[in-house]
Symmetry: C2
Subunit: 347 residues, 2 copies
């Protein structure tokens, strides 16, 4: 079968790889119909990462059709349309039961050197009952882009909002205008934020952010950005800061735009991030929370809003192509020409 | 008047200083009846701090009698018995109204080179209406030790428990067996923790911790301590970790005994603390919270339990003496011969 393999920074190829096959009775085999490229896929693309001898399989956001199930799979059958969140989880352990599927005791991540990746024609899915979420629509439903975001970016934006304690009447600041940041705007609005300040640089993204509910945008960076957020918030900063990048600068900005007693929900995978122990964190009683979103748990929360059209996170996809376009998709996202890439499979 | 002055590490003296006098119409003048030495007073004593030319006035936990009030003081009158939390606050700003008095826009700390300190015969109290809490008992009431803890250590232990999200059925781990750690045990029990693991070294303190509600004690340190907490918690760690020291080792221990999705409430003033950005904080979805406790706000919460005898935090005082004994009190706390020192004034 064909799949995406990254061999090193900037080196993404579509290659023939061994067919996905079932190995455990709890597995399912899924033929992929839609997949996405994630902002976090750009970290190894930009040189942060280790690569296996034959490269790393890529892709952790996908939707597909169940082709076969193992003897112990109870809730799925061939022909079901399913969404795969970005983490594998058994659905039964103590953390899955608590809704923190990304800490599943049998958890694993897609791709790399040990798992199939979503940016390929088919995927072996471990713990299929726990991992996969059945979708109540057809494989080419018009809502497919928004449904695909529930496997990662919309769930991740929601996690930023939840862990930053967004609620009615709160002032939210979203750091980052990538797909996650834009979904975080949707999430902040959905949870009742009164003011939503989107911090980013690119006019098209900021315009989409405004369409999603941002009330203000700040295009400055660093100290100037912090000062602008202060001015927009009566001098005190934001109650809830949604950190959607994961860089040293974005985290520093997030900490400095938070008001005393505020919370930072961070969902950008941290790279070269420092969290100071005293100022402003301790002395301003800031709460720092977040991590990998339990996307599997958030399907139940977010799916109704997608199905009923109340939120449209699928609008973050501005590049759609077949599997062969994946290398160009990485290039476009890396160059910030595309917000987010959707891969539509033909099979 | 006589007051405590620290001139440098290990150098604490009782000296004659200018009498406390009122300067603003919102001031009160308070004659001190009880004061305490705080664990945080030991940081400069041990060399972490800067000292003014004529030294630093000390003490931020005290109870006393109002001697005089300024023209704009509305809620207090001479003769009232009042408690002073460890932060000065106006009681009217946006943060005071939200209950975060330690971020008051007019806030200040006692002592140093600009304010009187509680370890002295009298104190000028700025923003008296906001800062002081009137006590409904006589000046020599038997509850005085427990009431005095509400000015700092019991409020601080409570803040650790609140910010670590202690609740019914939760497993709590308390890092540190000082007065704050012991009060944190009281707070964790009060908020319904099912299991309370106290991490410390000294048998007498651990015994008091057990009396306060600790269900387990761990006397090991570092990796061994982490392993023991894991074994005590079914392999997963504590939901709520109350970090009551503020050292690099204590914070590292706190992060490593937290279970995925858990919260760390830190109240020990950080010294040489590092908070790693990725592991375990991000990937385990840990929440790091805490800071200076809004003791002024917690009086309303904790006072009834003290007055009705449901909690007895005053038992942390195991050294009581007059003002002249303060230098020996610092020495005893530094040597860990005393858990906490109460100063009883005669005037």
């Amino acid at each position: 079968m064909k799949a995406t393999v990254m061999h090193g920074p900037g080196d993404v190829r579509i290659e023939n790889v061994p067919d996905a096959t079932m190995m455990e009775p709890t597995d399912a085999l899924v033929v992929v119909t839609r997949a996405a490229i994630c902002g976090s896929d750009l970290w190894p693309y930009r040189g942060y990462g280790e690569f296996g001898e034959t490269g790393n399989r890529m892709g952790h956001e996908f939707i597909g059709i169940v082709e076969a199930v193992g003897a112990e799979v109870r809730t799925l059958k061939p022909g079901d349309l399913v969404a795969a969140p970005f983490a594998i989880s058994d659905g039964t352990c103590v953390f899955c039961r608590e809704g923190l599927h990304t800490s599943c005791v049998h958890g694993a991540w897609w791709g790399g050197t040990t798992q199939d990746g979503g940016q390929g024609e088919a995927v072996r899915v471990p713990y299929a009952d726990g991992t996969l979420f059945p979708l109540p629509v057809g494989r080419d439903d018009a809502l497919m882009p928004s449904l695909l975001t529930l496997t990662d970016v919309m769930a991740t934006g929601h996690h930023a909002a939840v862990t930053a304690r967004v609620g009615p009447g709160k002032i939210a600041a979203v750091v980052g205008d990538g797909a996650v940041g834009l979904c975080a705007v949707i999430a902040a609005k959905r949870l009742g934020a009164e003011q939503i300040i989107l911090m980013g640089r690119q006019p098209d993204r900021l315009a989409l952010g405004r369409a999603f509910g941002a009330t203000d945008v700040v295009t400055a960076r660093g100290d100037e950005a912090v000062e602008q957020v202060r001015q927009l918030t009566g001098g005190h900063g934001a109650h809830a800061v949604l950190e959607c990048v994961g860089s040293g600068l974005s985290m520093r900005t997030a900490l400095n735009v938070a008001r005393p007693g505020g919370a930072i929900g961070r969902v950008g995978v941290p790279h070269e991030v420092k969290i100071p122990a005293s100022n402003p964190t301790f002395f301003k009683n800031l709460t720092i929370s977040g991590g990998p979103a339990p996307a599997r748990a958030y399907f139940d929360v977010l799916l109704p809003d997608v199905l009923e059209g109340r939120i449209e996170p699928g609008r973050v996809f501005d590049f759609v192509g077949p599997l062969d376009s994946v290398p160009d998709g990485y290039r476009a996202m890396d160059a910030r020409e595309a917000i987010k890439v959707m891969i539509a499979f033909n099979q």
